[in-house]
């Protein structure tokens, strides 16, 4: 009989607080991850939106190519009409 009471006391005074303490720690850790993960998701979404202008790089590529071609044409003409340095 005495052992049963001792077992009850251990359950109530030791096991239950330890279980509650451990589970509470797990819950607080999981809750603390939630805002961080939401910030990561928001940053990834914003980063993906910022890259929407990447398609314009194709236009930039074409423009640069045309500009260099025009510069090459002008350079060729200047090479003809200007004297070389002595």
């Amino acid at each position: 009989m005495t052992l049963e009471w001792i077992g009850d006391a251990i359950l109530l005074l030791v096991v239950l607080p330890v279980v509650v303490y451990l589970l509470r720690g797990v819950l607080s850790a999981a809750n603390s991850i939630v805002p961080s993960v939401r910030q990561i998701a928001a940053a990834a979404t914003a980063g993906s939106k910022d890259l929407d202008a990447t398609a314009l790089l194709l236009t930039t590529q074409d423009q640069v190519q045309k500009t260099i071609e025009v510069a090459a044409d002008y350079g060729g003409s200047l090479d003809v009409i200007l004297d070389d340095a002595r």
């Binding site: 077992g7 009850d8 096991v15 509650v20 589970l23 980063g47 790089l57 640069v64 260099i68």
Partner: protein
């Protein structure tokens, strides 16, 4: 049932309740984390997809720009010479000559002439364009024609010798106004005056003015030149 057994059952129930409460809360938190991670993964996948062609496109742009730099540097050095080229670069972008030209390692050690302080923009180009350009005809290799401290007057020397050194030989500008010594009558048609200007107080026959007006612009100009010459004397 003994009291100790009841207490044990109550203790076990309490433990189970605590386990259920905290584990369910943890499950809910993990589900929120999973949802947020799904959003993050969607964003990251979008970033990966959108940035996939960047490497190829930027490489192409850089290749074209490299070709442009090679072309312009080569043309500049070929036409202006390395020293003048560095002077031009430093004149347009002060301090850039120290970095040198990419395809000309010697350009970093070349002493760049202070072209921007000596010539106005485009003057050197004029000199290169033709030997008949004023600066080239006067002194293509000589001393600086433009004094930076007195640039406005020194720059006149770049142009034909008419006014710069002999301003006194030029006729003076006419004095205008109601009390000017020579009165001008407004013309109704360009190039033709009703009568020639005359000194204040001098009256002339209207018929003479009309005759000159009808005589044409040539006579009027000749008369005006004669009058101007006599006024200067």
């Amino acid at each position: 049932m003994p009291a100790a057994g009841v207490v044990m059952i109550i203790a076990v129930l309490l433990i189970v309740l605590a386990l259920v409460y905290y584990l369910v809360s943890t499950i809910v938190a993990l589900q929120r984390i999973t949802n947020a991670l799904d959003d993050a993964i969607t964003g990251v996948v979008g970033i990966i997809e959108k940035s996939a062609p960047v490497d190829e496109v930027v490489t192409s742009i850089n290749t074209n720009l490299d070709a442009g730099v090679d072309l312009l540097e080569g043309l500049l050095v070929k036409k202006a010479g390395l020293s003048d080229a560095m002077g031009l670069v430093d004149g347009l972008y002060p301090g850039a000559a120290a970095q040198g030209l990419r395809n000309f390692p010697d350009s970093k050690t070349t002493k760049a002439p202070r072209i921007s302080e000596v010539y106005t923009k485009g003057t050197l180009t004029l000199a290169r364009l033709g030997r008949e350009a004023p600066i080239a005809a006067a002194s293509p290799n000589g001393p600086a024609l433009r004094n930076p401290a007195y640039g406005s007057t020194a720059a006149r020397a770049l142009y034909p010798e008419v006014r710069q050194s002999r301003p006194s030989s030029m006729p003076r500008s006419p004095i205008i106004g109601a009390d000017s010594p020579v009165q001008y009558v407004p013309s109704e048609s360009p190039g033709v005056r009703k009568r020639m200007p005359m000194a204040a107080g001098v009256t002339a026959a209207p018929a003479q003015g009309q005759e000159q007006a009808e005589g044409g612009a040539v006579k009027s100009r000749l008369a005006f030149l004669r009058r101007s010459t006599s006024d200067d004397r």
